[in-house]
């Protein structure tokens, strides 16, 4: 039994990622790095390269002193059965939980460890030594096994793949297929044609794990902390011999997306104030009209630009959403790096502590969850309607008393008795 020695190559790369530039590449054998020279070259870009080849005994852990030692991992070591304590599938999951991104490629000789790791992300790889086979749709340079597939079933998501890739040349894929789950965090990026199926070369005893467009070739999951894990079923996909077809462009897009250079959003500011005022209060009144706005920018071509989305929604929540409103996007002004979204809302007539939440989750883009907490108070005693129609009799009653008093004083002072009554009195007396 050969103990697999994998060499870790450190690249200190200025990959212009938003989360960091420390990349770890894991291979089964040190000589494997010659298969992927073009891929590694494209990663380096135009920046500092500090190549450090380290023996596996020294790579003890993905973490150092409780923090991630790397920002991105390229895992090209499907055959390795990790026996050491710190390098297990669980430690890779911890790496993702801590915010690290992983680009993982497997071949048909994948170990059970990798299958277990993929299950954590709702991806079920097929058994060892199975391939994705398509008798209808294989490349001319196939070796008779009908496993080198041509596929252009790309996901139509411009956050992950650029337009040139989506509409461009098909890619070549030879490897193992997987079945992706239905978790909304998962995005299928490339899948097989309707006539494909995933199997080994023996006669089928039972139905394959997946057939047709259910066979996933490349899938990716973006975790809730925005860490990205991409699963590619073919290690040959990145190799030099396949880099001439559309593979190179897709690989470029995949690495850019996985390493947080693409499809990245952030909120630069959010504010809310009463209509007609400017100050952001912590307490509003029920039925107040407020204006809420939020600014979101996107990282495109290594700089922050205004975001193009138009379906941002605001939710006003107290345990349950009371109001959900689409925010309107204001036009982009010159020189602004963020897009402003605004809306005029009337607060509900329930009082309590509410949260203004923008919960923007779309496949391919980072998740934006932006909350601000406000209190909504009921009417003060002097904010009720001042005069009500049921009280008109009382108003007139009081007014007529006042007027009557003044009139009576006026009349009493200036009255001159004509003597009629006294005359009548004298008469009757």
């Amino acid at each position: 039994i050969i103990a697999f020695a994998f060499a870790a190559l450190f690249f200190f790369v200025e990959s212009k990622s938003t989360t960091g530039f420390r990349v770890l590449v894991l291979l089964d054998e040190e000589n494997d790095k010659n298969l992927f020279t073009q891929f590694f070259h494209s990663l380096e870009g135009n920046a500092i390269t500090n190549l450090l080849i380290i023996n596996c005994q020294i790579l003890s852990s993905y973490f150092s002193y409780g923090e991630r030692a790397f920002d991105h991992i390229i895992y090209f070591a499907p055959k390795t059965k990790d026996k050491k304590d710190n390098i297990t599938p669980i430690s890779l999951v911890n790496f993702v939980n801590d915010g690290g991104n992983i680009l993982l490629a497997v071949s048909s000789e994948l170990s059970e460890n990798i299958r277990n790791f993929a299950r954590e992300f709702d991806i079920e790889f097929d058994e060892r030594n199975t391939y994705v086979i398509d008798h209808f749709n294989y490349d001319v340079s196939d070796n008779g096994k009908h496993t080198l597939l041509i596929s252009n079933n790309f996901v139509n998501n411009e956050a992950i793949l650029s337009k040139e890739v989506i509409e461009g040349v098909p890619v070549l894929f030879r490897g193992i297929g997987h079945k992706a789950g239905t978790v909304p965090l998962l995005t299928k990026i490339l899948w097989a044609n309707d006539t494909a199926y995933s199997s080994d070369f023996e006669l089928l005893e039972q139905e394959p794990l997946a057939i047709g467009n259910d066979v996933g070739l490349i899938s990716a999951l973006q975790a809730r902390n925005n860490a990205r894990v991409t699963f590619v079923g073919s290690l040959e996909f990145f190799s030099d011999q396949h880099s001439k077809s559309g593979n190179k462009a897709l690989v470029n897009d995949l690495t850019k997306w996985t390493f947080q250079e693409k499809g990245i959003l952030r909120t630069t500011s959010r504010s809310h104030h009463k209509e007609g005022e400017y100050e952001q209060l912590e307490m509003y009144r029920i039925k107040d009209n407020i204006i809420y706005n939020i600014e979101i920018s996107e990282y495109v071509n290594d700089q922050w630009q205004a975001f193009n989305g138009d379906d941002i929604q605001l939710e006003i929540i107290m345990l349950d959403p009371y109001i959900r409103k689409n925010l309107t996007a204001l036009p982009i002004l010159e020189g602004h790096h963020a897009r402003k979204y605004e809306s005029l809302i009337q607060l509900p007539d329930v009082y309590g502590v509410f949260t203004f939440k923008v919960n923007y989750k779309r496949p391919g883009y980072t998740y934006i969850v932006d909350t601000s907490t406000v209190a909504i108070r009921p009417f003060k005693h002097n904010e009720y309607p001042r005069f009500i129609s049921a009280a008109y009799p009382y108003y007139t009653g009081a007014a007529s008393m006042g007027v009557g008093f003044l009139l009576f004083c006026f009349v009493w002072i200036f009255n001159k008795d004509n003597g009629k009554l006294t005359a009548n009195k004298k008469k009757t007396n």
Binding site: T195, S199, L204, G212, K325, G402, I413, N415
Partner: protein
């Protein structure tokens, strides 16, 4: 001459060998297979035949195949090599149901024996274990092998599946429907007509007052007769009106402190003016004018 004969002999054999090889190669590049004797049957749970059809590749079935809970769809056919007519066992022989609604594909394995006889069965027992839901599906037979070229994707027909399970879409991230808050209706008050009628009722004593005054012969004759004492009396009455106006302002917009400050001033004024005015009135009385 013997040499040339040997040459020609060798040449013919070479040509023959080449021809044989080319024919063998030609046959190899055209190695295909055919499917024949396709029979489709649907039986329901009481073992009654609902549908029996024979098909020939590549024609499809026009009418709808209807399957409900407990039904059994069975299909048999034979796969043979085109040239030798011997049975082959293809690697991929699957009956695929593709949903018209979602595009998802459900496989049914076709078991092929070495003789080339193939059979597939779909049994809709309860509860359904497959990923099927109610709806229309396209039934396709996909056969592919490594040994032969020209794989077959044969559209057999449309299947309508009627089972209790319906399709429920998985949760996907996207915009959610808007929620508009329904505000409580305003407080209901009695009809304004009623309020106005009571306003009229409240104002009716004025009729009695004015009527009684006219009956008594009430007048304001001193207003015109005693002119030099007028300013004090008018001032006094004006102060009283000012106090009334102050009360009205207090009712609308003033607070108690402003009211009291105004009131202190006005009441002092009313006191002094009133003393003068009422002493004038007393003089009138003493003079015998009243």
């Amino acid at each position: 001459m013997r040499r040339s004969f040997v040459c020609i002999y060798a040449l013919t054999w070479q040509i023959l060998a080449l021809l044989m090889c080319s024919t063998i190669l030609a046959q190899d590049s055209e190695r295909g297979f055919i499917i024949a004797d396709i029979k489709l049957a649907v039986t329901n749970s009481e073992a009654q035949r609902k549908l029996t059809e024979s098909l020939t590749y590549p024609s499809s079935l026009d009418k709808l195949i209807e399957l409900s809970q407990g039904d059994n769809l069975k299909m048999i056919f034979t796969i043979q090599d085109k040239a030798t007519k011997s049975g082959i066992q293809p690697h991929q022989s699957l009956l695929v149901l593709s949903s018209h609604q979602t595009g998802s594909q459900i496989p049914i394995l076709v078991k092929v024996r070495e003789t080339g006889k193939a059979r597939a069965e779909l049994y809709l027992k309860s509860p359904t274990t497959r990923n099927l839901f109610s709806g229309n599906y396209s039934l396709n037979l996909i056969i592919g092998t490594f040994s032969h070229d020209n794989p077959i994707n044969y559209h057999i027909g449309t299947v309508k599946i009627d089972i209790p399970k319906t399709y429920s879409a998985p949760v996907k991230y996207g915009p959610k429907p808007e929620i508009h808050h329904i505000f409580n209706p305003d407080q209901k008050l009695p009809p304004t007509f009623l309020s106005y009628s009571f306003v009229v009722i409240v104002l009716t004593p004025w009729l009695f007052l004015i009527g009684a005054w006219i009956h008594l012969g009430v007048n304001v004759s001193f207003l015109t007769s005693e002119l030099e004492t007028l300013p004090a009396i008018i001032g006094f009455l004006g102060t009283l009106s000012a106090i009334e106006i102050l009360f009205y302002n207090y009712w609308t917009h003033l607070n108690i402190f402003q009211t009291l400050s105004w009131l202190s001033g006005l009441s002092a004024l009313a006191f002094f003016l009133g003393q003068k005015a009422l002493s004038d009135v007393q003089e009138w009385r003493l003079k015998g004018l009243r």
